[in-house]
Amino acid sequence: MKCRKCGEKAVINMRQHKLALCKAHYLEWVPDQTARFIEAYRMFSVQDRILVAVSGGKDSLSLWHVLQRLGYACDGLYIGLGIDEGTAYSAESQRLSEAFAAQHGLNLTVVDVRELEGATIPEASRLTLRGQGKPCSVCGLTKRHIMNRVARDGGYDVLVTGHNLDDEAAVLFGNTLHWQVGYLMRQGPVLPASSEGFARKAKPFCRFYERETAAYALLQGIEYIYEECPHAAGAKSLYYKEILNRMETDRPGAKLQFYLEFLHAKEAGLFAQPSQPPDGLLHACESCGQPTSAPGQCAFCRTWDAVRARSAIPAVP
């Protein structure tokens, strides 16, 4: 197969776009498309200070690489989760994130959950009922809280994550199966900042297939963590991705169409605004001050207070 732009041997074929590209043209195409998505969804501008949530994986490191190539002022945030049970997963993820930052002269803030809260994510999940022993729930809650806090305290204009189209389509699929209208309403390439204290969030890779972000990392020579999180086995998101990929194999473009048509439907008003917008129900958590819809403490503070109480870890001052 030949590159559509120069006729050289292609290294990737994107069937949904009927587009095959050689290495050189693919490495140009990804930043060009990213810039187009940033503009199309009005994610941020070159004047903005950007915080990139970095996990050491292909998506977030590729995103950070592309954003700095495009000339954006972007720092990284790595959250050490302490998922190391025999696999050194977190330790290796952190090493790769730090190596990437050093190689490209970028600033990386590292927040270690154990140092901050007194326990690792797996330890916390064993000490709380949240997630019923599966760490993903505590992990997601903790990451969202820390990302928002660092973005807000650091004066960043926007927090960006490396979510790709497969991630977005899988979340959309799950939320549609369960008609989670509240989540559907808030899913999109950009989530505006709220007056109550949620940072603006954006997903510049939301229209790239997962194999495209992986191809970018491989072709660019970005060293990323290849091993999966040991707790991901059996995750619903993987199951949904598999179903969507079966559809994609038979009908190229099915995943992209699913996501884009959803965005169009939302834009056209398919999901009616509730009489009271969700943000109207928010108030400041009595412990940490971050916005929450729960009375009193937010879920993060409740969860970690319970973890500390059960493990006799001193309370965070």
Binding site: R144, V171, R211, A235, E242
Partner: protein
């Protein structure tokens, strides 16, 4: 000499003369979930499998908590 696809720790023996895409599908592997490489170079899945080929597949799907790390859930 047979040709093989390699994915993580597994090897799949495949027929010579078919496309990589057909080789994937015959082994119930999703073309969307992997990137085929030959001698460290990315290849498209219309490439023909050759005698003695060792086509390494890079798995691209990640999931679990990463997928909802930033769902706009209230905390």
């Amino acid at each position: 000499m047979p040709a093989v696809l390699l994915l993580r720790e597994r090897e799949y023996e495949v027929r010579v003369g078919i496309t990589v895409r057909d080789a994937l599908l015959q082994n119930d592997l999703q073309p969307e979930a992997v990137i085929p490489t030959r001698q460290g170079e990315l290849i498209t899945d219309d490439e023909i499998v050759k005698e003695g080929d060792r086509i390494r597949l890079v798995a691209v799907i990640s999931g679990g908590c990463t997928s909802h790390a930033c769902t706009p859930e209230h905390t």
